[in-house]
């Protein structure tokens, strides 16, 4: 995965999300539930599964979260659009990358992704979408960490 996402400007993504993070997370009224289950799910992903989990979580955010989230504030709308279109770009980059190399999905990777969808389905759609948006910083940090070796000096 390291080279696949080399052209993604993670810094801009994280900076724009920081701008709406407080507002989005403040709307999350279920702090006892997580969607991405920080420690248990993402941290335990093995390097070989990183490509598959990244692809799956990009789909999760694009197919479910960004569509389910109803946003009225223009600044938040712009930021979410920026993230959504960047994820679309990452998905394309991963697909092109897959042509040259495998993106295997082990049982563990599939289970990890299913847990995310299960967590999501535990909540009402608006709450689940808001909570998932509020956890974008976790996902972005995980992506940056898994392809950080490619950033220049």
């Amino acid at each position: 995965l390291r080279r696949c996402l080399a052209f993604v400007d993670m810094r801009h993504l994280e900076e724009s999300f920081q701008g709406i993070k407080r507002a989005i997370q403040a709307k999350d009224t279920f702090p006892n539930i997580t969607i991405l289950s920080t420690a248990e799910t993402l941290r335990s992903i093995k390097p070989v599964d990183v490509c598959c989990v990244t692809k799956s979580l990009l789909e999760f955010y694009m197919d479910r979260v960004f569509k389910d989230h109803q946003e009225l504030k223009p600044q938040a709308l712009r930021t979410i659009s920026s993230v959504a279109n960047s994820f679309l770009y990452m998905q394309k980059a991963l697909q092109q990358c897959q042509v040259q190399r495998r993106c295997p999905c082990s049982e563990e990777a599939t289970n990890a992704t299913r847990m995310v969808y299960d967590n999501y389905d535990q909540l009402e759609v608006p709450s689940a979408a808001t909570k998932s948006l509020g956890e974008l910083d976790v996902f972005l940090a995980w992506i940056a960490k898994n392809h950080q070796k490619t950033s220049p000096a």
Binding site: R11, P31, T34, S37, A141, S151
Partner: protein
Amino acid sequence: MKNVLRWDPPDSLQGAAVTYTVQYFIYGQKRWLNKPDCKNISRTYCDLSDETSDYEHQYYAKVKAIWKTNCSRWTETGRFYPFLETQIGPPEVALTTDAKSISIVLTAPDKWKRNAEDCTISMQQIYSNLKYNVSVYNVKSKRMWSQCVTNHTLVLSWLEPNTLYCVQAESFVPGLPRRAEPSQKHCISTLEDPTSALK
């Protein structure tokens, strides 16, 4: 990763004998947890470094004021994510010099630890792509230049003898939007050039 909760006293009770109690919450867990040595305290800060030492988790904290028999409502923080939000301190800077060069040795800051005898974790271990921006200022020519460095040593050669140079360094992690905190300025003078004494 030294994470300290701070707050201001209630406006209406400035100077009164107010005490405070703090609790914290690990995002995704079930209950608010007490912080025993921040119960009924009069200071307006509470060190939660120990409770938030797993930097890949996220946390909330809240505090309430107690005055006589009255109790305020809780005031809660936003969600705190140490891995992304902690500030990375400057590296340690050690300089040695001879007539025409200065050797700079940089040491990454250490992660907070509860006891001095606990094992030390370098921030380099947490952020493996940690880099340094080194600024060098020639006091005589009043020229400054900077250099981005990945490893821990840097030798500035072919310097002017008998000249004062000042060095400052900051740590940064590419890709993470974070304010960098520069080190103090370390100044050192290159030595006399022994060969020029012979001429």
